[in-house]
């Protein structure tokens, strides 16, 4: 554990170093992000990586539990990832599927060295829904902690680097409240209850997502892993996910920037019977950006295969930015040359015209040279894209 005063000193030191670094760059990561998201070509590819534990950066003096519960500890690690490792999109969240549930009274457990997890579902029976209340973001559960992290970013590195905030999407929130097994049964036996629950979840998204958005003018990323194929079938997606996601995306639109909410809904698109049509449908929700996962490109872990250039073309035609993600298996397995090659190949296929970013997750235990290869690679990808 590190005292807050010490963390504050370290963060301020990092901010000073970063100001000097950015002054020497052609363009700040924030300008790079804005151009990218506006479908203009910046100086080079925007790159980022998710850090879900201090152990990723081999920091032993902050436990994973502290990381998830103390905004100072969390922000310090994110700032380290930016300043010392070159992350260009630090995330102002770590476990976005739990925050709303906890704020509504659900149990979240915090292991010392692992990511938090949910206890038993809060809604034991459909009738329990009537006792749930929309949480107050400034008061309930960890919502104030997440808002504080985002405000800290606004104070410290916010003028130089973009950091997305995030809330749970409506379908994933419904799964968190009711449990996956139960929600599948409800869909079969009591679909009207599921619609009622999703209506409620949309209201939570609007209230909490709106509060996050207003911390620093950034529309939140809605995490919607549970609504991805194969977790749901296309039929379930169209009835129980799509209408509610669409409703929330528009509700979270930022009046200042015009950007709508982003939806972390990417993996599994290759599993749709017609992935091109499915992708167009997802893009038509009005979201600003969508992931492109490596498993959907290379057919990893039973997924299908999609062409990177074609995926980008479809998304760009609907004004949706593509956030490509290398799989953690790739980062763990290496070798560095393969990681570098993938980043370059995909940039050549999809980078032209902006609207394209490179990302991955820093897996705990991955060799540093593998992550370094990823970081070096996105820095090497300069505009204009060479044939």
């Amino acid at each position: 554990m590190i005292a807050h005063a010490e963390l504050r000193n370290r963060i301020e030191d990092l901010v000073g170093r970063y100001e000097r670094q950015v002054a020497q760059q052609e363009m700040s990561p924030l300008e790079r992000a804005f151009k990218t998201w506006s479908f203009q070509e910046p100086d080079r590819l925007l790159g980022s990586f998710a850090v879900f534990s201090p152990l990723c950066l081999d920091i032993q003096e902050i436990t994973t539990r502290e990381y998830y519960t103390d905004p100072w500890a969390f922000y310090y690690i994110q700032a380290l990832a930016v300043v010392e490792w070159g992350n260009e999109t630090p995330l102002m969240y770590g476990d976005p599927y739990h925050v709303e549930i906890e704020a509504m009274g659900g149990e979240v457990k915090y292991p010392e060295h692992s990511i938090p997890h949910l206890g038993e579902p809060l809604l034991k029976e459909p009738g329990d829904l009537s006792s749930l209340k929309i949480p107050d973001p400034e008061r309930d559960g960890r919502m104030p902690v997440l808002l504080e992290q985002s405000r800290m970013h606004h104070r410290y590195l916010g003028s130089m680097v973009f950091a997305p905030v995030s809330c749970c999407g409506p379908f994933s929130m419904a799964v968190g409240l009711r449990g996956y097994k139960n929600i599948l049964k409800d869909i079969r036996k009591d679909p009207s209850f599921v619609h009622e629950l999703l209506d409620f979840c949309c209201e939570v998204v609007k209230v909490y997502g709106g509060a996050l958005r207003d911390t620093h003018n950034a529309s939140p990323t809605m995490q919607e892993a549970w609504s991805c194929l194969p977790n749901v079938s296309p039929k379930v997606f169209h009835e129980f996910c799509l209408p509610y996601i669409t409703r929330c995306v528009e509700a979270l639109r930022n009046p200042t920037t015009g950007f709508a909410g982003t939806v972390f809904h990417g993996y599994g698109i290759s599993l749709a019977p017609d992935w091109r049509s499915f992708l167009r449908t997802v893009c038509a929700t009005g979201l600003s950006a969508i992931p492109l996962m490596e498993e959907d490109v290379h057919g990893l872990r039973g997924y299908g295969q999609m062409d990177v250039a074609e995926y980008k073309k479809i998304c760009a035609s609907q004004g949706v930015v593509v956030m490509s993600f290398l799989h953690t298996d790739t980062i763990i397995a290496g070798p560095p040359e393969r990681i570098r090659q993938l980043v370059h190949d995909w940039f050549r296929a999809a980078g032209a015209g902006g609207g394209y970013t490179a990302s991955t997750t820093w897996p705990v235990g991955a060799l540093v040279e593998h992550m370094q290869a990823f970081i070096d690679a996105f820095r090497e990808c300069r505009y204009p894209v060479e044939g």
């Binding site: 599993l271 763990i332 397995a333 997750t361």
Partner: protein, 219 residues
């Protein structure tokens, strides 16, 4: 309804994910004096069919999960009768999600598919310490220890199980099967495992091979 019609209906109930119906039909066919082994053979075929439909993209996780739950409900009716009749299992598996990890959807599907395929499965549930795997291997003498991890943080725990079995002097008595969202085929060596299942269907086919290997080693 004839025995054959009842067995067909049972298979269909599993494929349709009808949990209560599958349990009822399992009881019915047993009451019709169908041998428990025969019922398990039908369920095993249903498990294979579920896996095929999932891999071919006809089924998604909801259908697979519902099918697995229906399978579990039917197997729960068959196993006591099989035990009473002295019928043999295809092998014994001790399974759990590693310490610090509470994800259990994938594991539940694997448990159901292994049970349906005729394995005796001891599910240690989630957040299982390596020492508990060791205790259960000593107590139950299974053919396979199967462990899953769904986070890159918790996948670091997988080698601990192999090490704990080695330190207890019983590593050679059991095969070690790994799987889960944060686990890949490349991790077999680094975790000290003997096999990897990318999905439930593959876990069953790898488990069959591992049982053959350990039994031929023992004999």
């Amino acid at each position: 309804m004839t025995q054959m019609e009842a067995l067909d209906s049972l298979q269909e109930a599993v494929l349709d994910g009808e949990e209560e119906l599958a349990a009822e039909l399992a009881e019915q066919v047993l009451d019709m004096d169908v041998s428990p082994q025969r019922v398990l053979d039908v369920l095993s075929a249903a498990a294979d069919d579920l896996g095929r439909r999932y891999e071919s993209g006809e089924y998604f996780l909801p259908e697979l999960f519902a099918g697995a739950e229906a399978m579990s409900a039917a197997v729960a009716k068959v196993l006591p009768v099989l035990e009473q009749s002295g019928g043999e299992h295809k092998g014994t598996v001790v399974i759990g999600t590693v310490e610090g990890d509470v994800h259990d959807i994938g594991k539940r599907i694997v448990v159901a598919m292994l049970s349906g395929a005729g394995f005796r499965v001891h599910d240690l549930e989630t957040d299982v310490r390596a020492s508990l795997f060791v205790d259960k291997v000593r107590e139950l003498q299974p053919d396979i220890v199967a462990a899953s991890a769904y986070l890159t943080t918790t996948s670091q725990r997988l080698p601990e199980i192999s090490q704990a079995l080695t330190e207890a002097g019983i590593r050679s008595e059991v095969m070690y099967l790994i799987g889960g969202a944060a686990v890949s085929r490349e991790m077999i060596k680094s975790t000290g495992a003997d096999g990897y299942g990318e999905n439930a269907a593959e876990a069953v086919s790898v488990a069959r091979k591992l049982v053959e290997q350990i039994r031929s080693k023992r004999s």
